[in-house]
């Protein structure tokens, strides 16, 4: 059974703070993703990683960076948190596609971040 865990369920930070969100998966998945989930906007991809130290920008990378030093761990970093980054953050992982079809993404429970 795939398990994706996120370091915190709830987090409250102040404007300007550096924030780290951690995600760990235990199924040896190559792909890992960070999304933010906002009402009416759905899920928007922030960053995607397909291998250790490899990353690609998603739709809304501004104000965020990521780190993937180990295959099982993918960190999202807010260099200087701002109030408009208050959101639910979801991590996901999937196997690399071995054929023409992409594999299912498995999601973590989410981290609700509030920036004051």
């Amino acid at each position: 059974d795939v398990k994706v865990t996120q370091s915190s369920r709830y987090l409250v930070k102040r404007t300007g703070e550096k924030v780290f969100l951690e995600c760990v998966q235990d199924m040896d998945h190559e792909n890992m993703f960070w999304y933010r989930q906002d009402p009416g906007l759905g899920l928007r991809l922030i960053y995607f990683s397909y291998d250790v130290k490899m990353k690609e920008k998603g739709d809304i990378p501004e104000g965020y960076s990521v780190s993937r030093e180990k295959k099982e761990r993918f960190s999202l970093i807010l260099e200087s948190a701002s109030t408009n980054q208050t959101s639910m953050y979801l991590c996901a992982s999937s196997l690399m596609a071995s054929g023409p079809w992409v594999n299912e993404q498995f999601f973590g429970p989410g981290t609700r971040l509030t920036v004051l």
Partner: protein, 107 residues
């Protein structure tokens, strides 16, 4: 640029009524589409994908390339179907999600 549109933010039906959650997409290539669901206090999870052509929990979805739609349907809604539903479109190794529709099934 690819896009997924779910025109209804909220859909409210009575138990036993048919339900259809709409999804429209724009994509220049051959689309691969999914429905993900998030029940209250649970993780987002895959419900079904168009290539599987299967019914999951009584739900089906047919890809209509002419109308660029992938609507999710169930003939008789149940209270346990109440959840947030997201339509998603593949682009490379990534997914583009719609804004989501909250389905409420009333007793």
């Amino acid at each position: 640029a690819q896009r997924v549109t779910q025109p209804e933010k909220l859909l409210s039906v009575f138990k036993g009524a048919p339900v259809e959650l709409k999804c429209n997409y724009s994509y220049s290539g051959s689309p691969e589409l999914f429905w993900y669901v998030q029940y209250s206090r649970q993780r987002l999870q895959l419900l079904l994908r168009h290539i599987s052509r299967e019914s999951i929990k009584g739900f089906t979805a047919d890809l209509n390339k002419g109308e660029t739609s992938f609507h999710l349907k169930k003939p008789f809604a149940q209270e346990e179907d109440s959840a947030m539903y997201y339509c998603a479109l593949r682009g490379g190794n990534m997914l583009t999600f719609g804004g989501g529709t909250r389905l409420m099934v009333k007793p």
